[in-house]
Every structure is written in C-alpha cells, then in structure tokens.
C-alpha cells in the first residue's frame, strides 16, 4: 500500500514536470515578459477604437541642425481582429505637402502600404519588406511607429525598477531572426503599461539607440455611454548614440474614439484627403 502511494506520488511529480509534447512550457520570467509586452502594445499602439493626432517630428543632427516633419495621423482599429489602418497626411516640409500615405497593418504578416503623390496624381504601392527602414528619414523605424510583431522576439521579465518615481517592469526582448539590433530593454510603467524608456543594443552588443517617453498626458475620450481616459506619450525622443542624431516627436490635438470609418482608408481618400479629418 505504501509502495503504491509512493509510486503514484512520483508519477504525479513526473507528469507535472514533463511538459506535454509539442507545447514547451515557458519559464516564468518569459511568460511574464510576453504578458507585459502584450499589455504594452495595447497601451501604446492600440488605445481606443480610433485616434487622430497632429504629429511634429524634429530631426536633429549632432551639430544641432534641424529638419521638421509635420503630419496628421488617423488610426483605426479593426474591431474584429488585431488589424489596424493608418492614414497620414503630410504638411511639412513643402516638397511633401499634400502627400498621403496609407498603411493596412496586420500583426502577423507584412503590411500593405500606399503613397499618393498629388503633383502627378499617382497612387503607388510601396515595396517595403524591411520594417527596419527609417520612417521619413527620422530615427524611428516603421516598426517603431506602428509596433513590432510580439512573437518575433523572446521577451523576458528581468526585474522591476523605478524610472523617476514610477515603478516599471524591465523586459528584455531578443529578436528570433537576426536584425539590426540584438537586444531591446524596455522600462514599462506598471500602471499604464506605456514604455518609458527603451534601449537598443547593436550587433556588437553596444547601446546604439535610446527611446524615451518624455511627457505623458491623460487624454479623455467617449467610451460607450461614459468617458474613459487614455494615457498617451505626447512627447517622445529616439536618439542614435552612434551618430548623435535624434528625433523628437510631439503629438498635439490628440483625440480618441472620434468615430472614424473604415472607408476613409481607401484609394478614394488617398487621392482626395478627407477635409473633415485633416483640418
């Protein structure tokens, strides 16, 4: 009887310890890492049903020379999936004024991108398989602007740490496929789940780029019958430590849940920007 008891005890332990075939159990810090990053993406790239904002980017060289990009951004979340659609209307500099740019983003496959050049009335599809390309010459990549596929990296919760007086999770994300960085470390606010700081390490494992969320504001928006507020990083900086070049982004006139419709994100409005939304 005793032997049987021990036998079943050992068997139970063994069954518990051996993961089921095919689904390897992740260690605790990695499970936590993925959970945090999913919440971070939701808070940083997906808040609200839709969003509208004026974006001003200052591209600043090490010598202090500045170039300005000003654009209006519209974002729509597909209520049925994690797909998103973006519409950008460029205001400055003058040589790109009136250009529009549209992205249909899917979490697991390559985005579809279109650009419209008003001077020649031309709609082009953009072949940008490299999501690591710079967005309009800034220090931000396309991926930085619209989010990176979570399953492309392994995420590990390293520890908890304060940034200023805010408690943060420290998550290390390592790309599964080799790209221009080998490791990203994110400081993620435990309450808002916004990234307050990110460090990118290059292939020599040296710190190469640093992102900081410099100013966070609560933006109130209608939600159902009531109102809700979305914490939003209205000032952000990406700095390239290797070149000294940096890009400072300021978001103004941010509003959520403005009832954007899916049909805005079509060739019709690419050619004829919707005045109501870009005014």
């Amino acid at each position: 009887m005793k032997a049987l008891y021990w036998f079943s005890f050992v068997l139970t332990l063994a069954l518990l310890a051996t993961p089921a075939q095919g689904e390897t159990q992740l260690p605790e810090p990695q499970k936590a890492g993925i959970e945090i990053m999913e919440k971070e993406q939701q808070a940083f790239y997906y808040p609200g049903k839709d969003m509208k904002a004026e974006i001003r980017m200052e591209l600043i060289t090490a010598a202090g020379e500045k170039r300005i990009r000003v654009l209006t951004m519209l974002r729509w979340n597909d209520p049925k999936s994690k797909d998103q659609k973006y519409f950008l209307y460029f205001r400055e500099p003058s040589d790109v004024r009136g250009m529009t740019f549209m992205v249909w983003k899917y979490p697991l496959k390559e985005s579809d991108r279109w650009i419209y050049v008003p001077a020649i009335d031309l709609v082009r599809r953009i072949a940008a398989s490299d999501a690591r390309s710079s967005f309009v010459g800034s220090d931000f990549t396309y991926e930085d602007v619209s989010g990176r596929n979570i399953s492309a990296d392994t995420h590990t919760l390293i520890r908890e740490e304060k940034v200023g007086d805010r408690d943060c999770y420290l998550v290390e994300s390592v790309p599964k496929q080799p790209i221009d960085y080998v490791k990203r470390i994110s400081w993620i606010n435990k309450i808002t789940f916004l990234p307050l700081k990110e460090e990118y390490y290059d292939v020599q494992n040296q710190l190469a780029r640093v992102f900081t969320a410099d100013k966070i504001e609560e933006i109130a928006a209608p939600e159902g019958a009531g109102r809700k507020s979305f914490p939003t990083a209205v000032r952000r900086t990406m700095k390239n430590l290797k070149t000294g070049h940096r890009t400072e982004v300021t978001l103004t006139s941010v509003s959520y849940n403005v009832a954007l419709q899916d049909n805005i994100f079509t060739e019709r409005y690419l050619r004829n920007p919707p005045e109501r939304w870009i005014k």
Partner: protein
C-alpha cells in the same frame, strides 16, 4: 551661335542670382544655428527650421485666407555632343516659379497651380497653368473633379499602357522634375464608389495631345525624310481641336480583393502623339484610337508585383494596310519591386509591344522605309538608394530594348540641403544601334542637367 551664347549667359546669370540667394540663406541658417546653440538649455524652440527670413515668410503665408505654397527653381542643361540638327548646345535653361493655391470650403475644394517661367533656350517667358479645378461631392458615393487637372492611373513605372492622359516627353528627356512628365488635362472626372466596384470616368471635351518631341530642342527620327531631323524639320501636326467632336473618354473600373488592386480600363480618342501622316497635305496627324485593358497589382513574394495589358485598336487602319497610320497593337507589362536592403529599392519591368497585322504592314511599307519589328521588347531597371537620413537620393533608371538594341539611362542625384533648399544633377543618356528606333533616334540628345530649388 549668338543665340546659344545669349541663352547660356542668361542661364548663368540666373544661376548666379540663385547662388547669391543661397549664400544669403545659408548665412541666415548658420546664424540661426549659432543663436540656438547659445540658447541651449532652453528647449522651447518653435517655428520654422531655418532662417529668420523664412520664419517671417511662413507667418506671412499663414495670414493668407487660402493655402499658398510653391517653389522657385533654376535649371540648366547641355547636350554632351554636337547635334547637326539642333542649333543650340543648351537643352534647358530656365527659371521657374510655381504657385499652388488651395482653398477648402464646405461644399467644394479649389486648387489653382501655375508655373511662371523664363525659358532661356526658347528665349521667352511663359505661363504653364498646371491645375485649375474644383472637387465636389454631390452625393456620398460620388466625387466630381472639374477643370484643368493632372490625371494618372495604371501600374507601370514610366511605362503607360492604359493611362492615355497627356505626357510631356520633352520635359522628361531634358531633365525637368518628374512632375513634368505629366501634362495637364482639361477634363471632367466623375468617380463613383460602391461596395462592389469603383468607377472613374474622364471626359475631355477637346483632345489633349502629348507635349511630344517636335524637333525643337531635341532631334528625332523623321520617317518621311528617312533620317534624323530637328530644328530643320519641326513637326506641326494637323490639329484636333474641335470642341466635343475631338473629344476623349477614358474609364476605369476597379476594386481591391485582399489588398490586390484589380482594374479594367477603356479609352476612346486618338493616338496622343502625331503617329499618323497625311501624304497629300504633308502633315503629321493624330489617328483615331480605342484601348481596352486591365491590370493587377499587389504583394508578390517579398515585394510588389504588377501586370497590365491593353489592346490598341487603331481605328483608322484596322486592316493594317495604311502605311501612314500605326497598326493596332497588343501591349503587355509586368513588373516587380522590392526593397533589397535598408533604403535600397530595386524595380524591374518587362514590356512588350506587339504589332498586329504585321504582314499587311510589311507589304504596304513604302520602299526604302525602315521596318519596325513585330515584337518590341523593353526591359527596365530602377535602383534607388537613400542616404544621410534620406536627404540624399541616388537613383538610376534604365530602359533597354533587346529588339531595338537601344538604351536610355536616367541617373540622378538629389540632395535636400535644408527643408527648403534642394539641389539635383542628372543626365539623360541615349544609345542606339540604329537611327530609327524609339530611344536610338535621340542619340544626339544625350544631355546633363543641374537644378536648384527653394520651396515654401
């Protein structure tokens, strides 16, 4: 010879004035940078990116009751070899001011865009009204665009099969900005949008021909003379300018399926360049033409692929027996574009022009004429590299026809000095085994050009 000298001196003077402006602006910029460095720590910088003067100018623009933008540009170009048919070495020497006015009201949007230029090669000032149109939305599902407008559709890169809107090949070949490859149309465009299909209809009440190569500035192959010609044989075609009688209609039916863009096209009008010839009058003509075509574009492998084709129904010579009117054709295009590495993009295209009723063409071709091939194949390659935070762009576009044995190359280097100032240099290089092929005929027109622009 005096004219050449005058236009070159004129161009140099204009460039000189521009350089003075540039130096003045550069000084203002460096003064600004200096001032900003001194104020470092105070992070609340606002306003424009360069120069106190440009700040003032910007605030002036903001006080206007409409949007005003534009640029001032100087551009010069030279032939790199002598051309026995053209008196001038200069191919381009112009100062251009573009003003672009825009006003949105609740019920319509208005745009007025015009270029004012002094052309040192043609030795005259002129106005090129690019756009003067209104956009209305009479119904939720319908847009109307009325007036002078630039129109483009189709999937090709510098190759147009179903886009029969006017082109300006002269501007393209002498090194003006890409914007000028498209000439304006005076048209009504009606667009209908439904869940299943979208429909564009463009009605041009009076024929808008291409701004074709007519012999002024650029030499070409004249089939009647059977040789290269230029200023000595300028083409003055029989005009098609009867309102409503010489009208054009173009339509496009399109929709996206899973982000693949599919389209059907139709056109009823005329050959856009004077491809026909009236032997009695000794004049070039614009024969009648209809086109039916289709295209598809979307993700293929790691990039974007496209196919497009069109049947050209040359209505004035359906049998192919008239040697002075082009035969009907079938045209096919297939392309692929991919980003090879960060900020390096490559695009390749294959284009086929198939002459129908080739037997009839060959039989009726006047003796001594150069016969065109039944199949004209063209391969294009575009390489674009962006550097220095995308402020420096190097690009090379090459057309190569293995059947015509000719080549056309367009290298270009474009640098954005500041947000307002940019400079570019490039060349239009033509090679050809024979004088009568599409690109070979321009072999004496190979040119280099330089431009500087200030945008506001």
């Amino acid at each position: 010879m005096d004219q050449v000298r005058r236009s070159v001196y004129g161009g140099l003077l204009i460039l000189g004035i521009f350089l003075l402006f540039l130096i003045e602006n550069a000084r203002a910029v460096s003064a600004q940078v200096q001032a900003e460095k001194e104020q470092e720590g105070d992070e609340t910088q606002t306003g424009g990116s360069s120069g106190g003067t440009s700040k003032k100018w910007k605030s002036f623009l903001e006080t206007l009751p409409f949007e005003l933008h534009g640029f001032l540009e100087a551009r010069g170009g030279l032939r790199t070899q002598d051309d026995p048919h053209e008196p001038k070495t200069a191919t381009l020497g112009e100062t251009r001011l573009q003003l672009n006015l825009f006003k949105a009201l609740d019920w319509a949007k208005f745009r007025l865009k015009s270029d004012f230029l002094y052309d040192g090669v043609a030795e005259g000032a002129s106005v090129d009204l690019r756009e003067a149109n209104a956009i209305l939305t009479p119904f939720e599902f319908m847009d109307l665009k009325v007036g002078r407008q630039i129109l483009t559709w189709g999937t090709g890169d510098y190759i147009f099969i179903n886009d029969l809107f006017p082109k300006d090949y002269k501007s393209f070949f002498i090194g003006r900005d890409d914007e000028y490859l498209k000439a304006p149309s005076d048209a009504l465009k009606a667009s209908l949008y439904t869940k299943i299909l979208n429909f564009d209809l463009v009605y041009t009440p009076r024929f808008n021909p291409d701004r074709f190569i007519d012999g002024k500035q650029l030499s070409y192959f004249n089939p009647q003379l059977g040789r290269l010609a230029g200023d000595d044989a300028v083409i003055y075609p029989r005009k098609r300018d009867e309102w409503f009688e010489d009208s054009e209609i173009a339509f496009r039916l399109y929709r996206d399926i899973e982000s693949y863009g599919l389209a059907l096209y139709g056109y009823n009008g005329f050959w856009k360049s004077p491809m026909g010839f009236d032997p009695q009058a000794g004049k070039a003509t614009f024969p009648r033409l209809s086109i039916y075509g289709l295209s598809a574009r979307g993700k293929v492998w790691k990039g974007i692929g496209n196919v497009e084709m069109g049947y050209y129904d040359s209505r004035d010579d359906r049998s192919g027996n008239d040697p002075f009117v082009p035969n009907s054709q079938f045209r096919f295009l297939s392309g692929y574009e991919q980003e090879l590495a960060k900020d390096l993009t490559m695009g390749v295209q294959y284009y086929l022009e198939l002459m129908l009723d080739y037997g009839a063409y060959n039989r009726t071709l006047p003796r001594g004429s150069h016969a065109a091939d039944e199949y004209r194949h063209v391969i294009t390659l575009r390489l674009t590299k962006l550097l220095m935070y995308q402020n420096l762009k190097l690009s090379l576009f090459t057309f190569y026809s293995p059947s015509d044995q000719d080549v056309y190359m367009r290298p270009n280097i474009h640098y954005k000095i500041t947000d307002h100032w940019s400079a570019e240099a490039g060349a239009n290089i033509f090679f050809g085994e024979k004088d009568h092929t599409f690109f070979g005929q321009f072999q004496n027109d190979t040119n280099v050009y330089l431009g500087i622009r200030c945008g506001f």
